[in-house]
Symmetry: C2
Subunit: 418 residues, 2 copies
């Protein structure tokens, strides 16, 4: 069987599973998640065994230390994966909700019903925990999922997908609800992206080049999760103590994640009072500052920022700092150089706050708090499959609701159109 045929086979199985998942009760879906959590812990030794093969071969390929760390599974991590499954089981089931109901003059009742999307394809890199997390969210939202993990994790992923399927079988749920593409060849991804007759949505999780490749090849709608070049703007009216706390938190609390701050803009009229102390505090926490010429006056130890710094996501203890002339410049600068992910203002001025909300073209726009809150869990949405930097269907933290669609339902009593 060639790759195209194999992919088609996987897709037809997924479609069949999707048809049956559509009308599962919340109870059954939760049982699958809890069973899978149990099996995951029972099978921990064989999972760690499979993972060792991947780690071994990763070392042979000279994978970086960071990549090997992401690839590694151990008892603690398996426990976390099982806990994540239990948490998803506790979330509210989005499927079947009826909303926006209106009654028309002719008596028709017209509303919308939330239903699964159908078949979702997820393409990700070498993090085996994504296999379980993504499968759990797709199953809970009633979708069949086709997973394509990084080739470096193929043995771990095969084992984990198999365990999820056992959780399905144990509860008489369609065994193809979760499938992993068993062949790591990239050609299989290309075949997958042509299957628009079967797959309804592709979510690529990974670096920019992976996402761009997927977008250019795919006939299927793609929801993109690009990087987070997040800004904090300290306005002239800001409470400067609050601004310092927010800047330090947004930069240093966890610098390696997409909602960490990467660039700080400071209004010129508060630069002198704000920057020397704030920059010193950042330096004390090991942050390297790259400053514009004016900012450098107040942080003489800083390096010179280049044009490239304004659009760079460091994911590290590095911060670009710029002093700006006025509010409008700040807005234009963020919309131009930011990545439309998460941006914050610190201000006491009502009109500024209001304008910032309206004018910043980003998925999450924050007033007087740390960018680190930009997260499905912190927003109270439950687990997320990613933070969408797209504008369509899902924007910002993408949780269970965004893994569903809604159809119009019309309840009549014999109406015809005249």
């Amino acid at each position: 069987m060639d790759y195209k045929q194999m992919m088609r086979q996987i897709c037809m199985q997924a479609k069949e599973a999707a048809n049956s998942l559509m009308s599962l009760t919340p109870e059954t879906k939760n049982k699958v998640l809890l069973s899978t959590a149990d099996i995951l812990l029972e099978e921990k030794e064989s999972i760690i065994e499979a993972n060792k093969i991947d780690l071994e071969s990763g070392r042979g390929k000279n994978l970086s230390k960071a990549m090997l760390d992401r690839l590694e599974l151990n008892e603690k991590r398996l426990k976390e994966m099982a806990d994540a499954l239990k948490q998803v089981a506790q979330l509210e089931d989005p499927v079947g909700e009826i909303f926006d109901v209106r009654v028309r003059p002719n008596g028709l009742q017209i509303g919308r019903m939330r239903v699964p999307i159908g078949v979702i394809g997820i393409i990700y890199e070498a993090r085996p925990n994504v296999t379980i997390d993504a499968a759990a969210l797709c199953l809970k939202s009633g979708n069949a999922v086709i997973l394509r993990g990084g080739s470096e994790a193929i043995n771990s992923n095969n084992k984990l997908a198999e365990i999820f399927s056992s959780g399905c079988k144990e509860n008489n749920v369609h065994p193809y609800a979760v499938q992993l593409i068993p062949i790591p060849d990239r050609q299989m991804v290309s075949e997958m992206l042509q299957m628009d007759k079967f797959i309804d949505l592709i979510i690529p999780r990974g670096g920019k080049s992976l996402i761009e490749k997927v977008v250019s090849e795919s006939l299927i709608p793609v929801i993109k999760h690009y990087d987070g070049n997040c800004f904090v703007y300290v306005d002239e009216s800001a409470d400067l103590k609050m601004a310092t706390d927010i800047v330090i938190n947004a930069k240093t609390q966890r610098p390696g994640v997409c909602n960490a701050m990467e660039t700080l803009l400071v209004h010129k009229s508060v630069a002198k009072e704000f920057l020397p102390h704030c920059a010193e505090e950042l330096r004390n926490r090991g942050v390297e500052i790259r400053a514009c010429p004016i900012a450098k006056i107040f942080a003489p130890f800083a390096k010179d920022a280049t044009e490239e710094d304004w659009s760079t996501e460091y994911l590290d203890l590095i911060l670009a700092v710029k002093v700006i002339e006025n509010f409008d410049e700040a807005v234009n600068f963020i919309n131009r150089y930011g990545s439309h992910h998460t941006d914050a203002i610190v201000t006491r001025d009502y009109e500024r706050a209001h304008q910032f909300l309206r004018k910043i073209d980003s998925a999450c726009v924050l007033i007087n708090c740390s960018t680190r809150f930009s997260d499905g869990g912190e927003f109270g949405l439950g687990a997320e499959i990613g933070i969408s930097t797209d504008k369509l269907h899902a924007r910002g933290p993408m949780a269970l609701k965004e893994l569903t669609t809604a159809k119009f339902i019309v309840l009549g009593s014999g109406q015809i159109r005249t």
Copy 2:
């Protein structure tokens, strides 16, 4: 200037316009729509003049009578276009709405704010009225639009787009809010579909081959409006008088549109009582019936249906009819052969109605009424830009709300993450 540069120029202008449209008041946008309606009527002679050039050249190219009819503008049609503008002005402005607000334990108020999408590209065929309709809906929802109409209507479209820009200028609204690609070469469409840095959404309006071409080339998200192969299923428990009325209405009230019925499924236990009379009534109204062997017993004058008939959108007085064994077969048949646009059941059975709503995988699922209601106006949503057969972002009638997106807004008072 080559095509790529020209397209880039148009896109940069659109982006600039989008930034300023974002924060227009509803009042200003409505004034633009009303001004444009006035100018449209004042300029009717020069519009009809421009349209004559297109008609002339269309006749030279031997366009079909139907195409020439769609292309033609006259006083009555211009009046209708002006009325459509006034109607859009009366619709509620979707921009700025704040919803789904929740307060987190740490005091953060998290909600979503409805905002324009940005720049929308619309690709359509030779119907000049789409120029005004699409521009009106995009402006009302705060989006800049780049229009690419069929080459046969280029003179009419240029004139209409110019009039819309005059309506903008008269109210100090950015003149590039509405732009028409002035060169009918298809290469310009290809360039447009690469402009994912500027254009946020592409909506192709036209035949299947146009949409497929757009999907395969585009780096920009596309919302597809495929055809409507709509089904009516007459269940064994149906009120047969009601079923006859609905079938006749769905097939004959306006057969040339996407929400007209194309295939009728009848449960075997009511075929004998229902079909002879219903088929006769259809025949009396000039409908050609293409029947399965069993249906033919009850409508002997029918032609034989082929496999192809079940998935054909006739847009004409032709109806495919099939007698089916049971409810599940009906559901599977519709999900397999239908186009996931609009499907209806006629039944008195609660459980059947409920299952039909859940299991039919279509944008609009109807109980006991005509498929002809599947329409933004009839649904009470106001004017629509099309009926999406996609599942993401917009599904079913796509009105003003679907021309917006929502960003998360977070109102804090100094919160940092611990």
